[in-house]
Amino acid sequence: MRVLRAAWLIARKDLVVEARSRELAYTTLFFAVSCVLVFAFAFVREGRAIEDAAAGILWVTLAFSGTLALGRAFERERQADTLRALLLAPTERAAVYLGKLLGLLVLMLAVEAIIVPIVGLLFAAPIGRAPLLLGALVVTGTIGFAAVGTMFAAMLVRAHSRDVLLPMLLYPIAVPVIIAGVRGTAAIFAQEPNLEAAQAWLSMLVFFDAVFVTLALWTFGPVMSE
């Protein structure tokens, strides 16, 4: 309980900082929208997106904008030299990780809440067909992606060439999550929707989330101790 309370305090601190500057929210959202636009030029033929494109565009955009947010979230700690203070806080390392993860999740989900309707609008994707299932896929996918991303972004803070290294490490490891997310979403968006398949991918995402969060909680302490 104490760990969760500490995590909440850290997440709230991040969100307050973000609410005052809105730097991450604006830049991430703008970047995500420009991503969608680039895809729109590539994949839309005669007003309709080619088959399965919408699901892919949605997830690639989530991954790209998520990476941007992850990198910046920790860059902020580095610039102000507050990461050490955060690690010195009289709480477990797991709480620091969970707090950071929670803060990033709120931010990413807020951006996604805007991106999903935009994708639906621009690519005629039926986002209203199974809104709960789609929402669950996006949320669990984001949790999996952010769970790995927070871990690697945190540990890369002190490394050289971290901007290049973050996507390089994050994408291969997050690939299972992206695959499950894309396939699940594509199953909902398809001409003949297959909701059972989407549910199967959702349960796989939940499974990946559990594995990734557990591993990250385990490794975060030893990795961040110096």
């Binding site: 790995v148 871990m151 690697f152 540990m155 890369l156 002190r158 490394a159 050289h160 060439s161 290049v164 290294l165 390089m168 490490l169 291969p172 490891i173 690939v175 299972p176 695959i179 594995v211 990734f212 591993l215 385990w218 490794t219 030893p222 990795v223 110096e226």
Partner: protein, 221 residues
């Protein structure tokens, strides 16, 4: 470590002898009725895959030990494991498409097994890149990557047998006729011996490199 170093020449000799004989055995093995002569790539493809997964596994376990115990030897072992996973993985990724071109008619299929193998290979390439360009302290970071990379290996193994896939599943090995399973086992042992020898040599090299770097640093201070 001493003992391991002493075994290396014998391991290398044995592996070399086995690799010399392997082509003759593979040549003598019967030609598979549907796939024809291209099936013989299997005798090298599967052992390389096994060696690659073993490398990933060694890297993952050693990384975990390094993370919690900070044992230097574990770190050196982890680098060697990752490098071997990448090298043998490259053999897998080259021989696989050669076979697939004949058996499936395409070089590559986005099938679960193939995709996961590629992903695992990329994770260990990323591991090596991180070590190379991450700067000081990257051993700890790459150890975390190693742990995550190893966590994916079971998914790959399970993926073949449970998910729908066009890649032959692992039961193929058990159902081989004796004329085929004998060269297969021979190649498997040869690859494992080579793997063990390379692992020891590379670990020793890494330990030497680390000692040299330390000497440089202390000289500069």
């Amino acid at each position: 470590m001493r003992l391991a170093n002493r075994v290396v020449p014998f391991l290398l000799l044995a592996a070399a002898a086995m690799f010399v004989r392997a082509p003759f055995m593979i040549e003598a093995a019967p030609i598979e009725s549907t796939m024809g002569v291209i099936q013989k790539i299997f005798y090298f493809h599967v052992p390389s895959a096994a060696a690659s997964f073993l490398g990933a596994f060694v890297c993952g376990i050693a990384s975990a030990i390094y993370l919690w115990r900070r044992s230097r030897t574990a770190d050196h072992l982890a680098v060697s494991g990752a490098e071997l996973a990448v090298v043998f993985g490259l053999i897998v990724l080259v021989t696989g498409p050669l076979w697939a071109r004949k058996a499936w008619g395409v070089w590559w299929q986005w099938d679960v097994r193939l995709t996961m193998t590629l992903v695992m290979w990329m994770i260990f390439v990323a591991y090596l890149l991180l070590r190379r360009f991450g700067g000081p302290g990257s051993e700890v970071l790459s150890a975390a990557v190693g742990v995550f990379g190893m966590a994916l290996v079971p998914f790959i193994y399970v993926s073949v047998n449970y998910w729908r896939t066009i890649h032959p599943n692992t039961n193929v090995v058990r159902s081989l006729p004796p004329e085929m399973s004998e060269p297969f086992r021979w190649a498997m042992i040869a690859f494992m011996l080579l793997f063990a020898a390379l692992l020891i040599v590379r670990t020793r090299l890494e330990a030497g490199r680390a000692a040299l770097e330390e000497a440089y640093v202390s000289l500069e201070d």
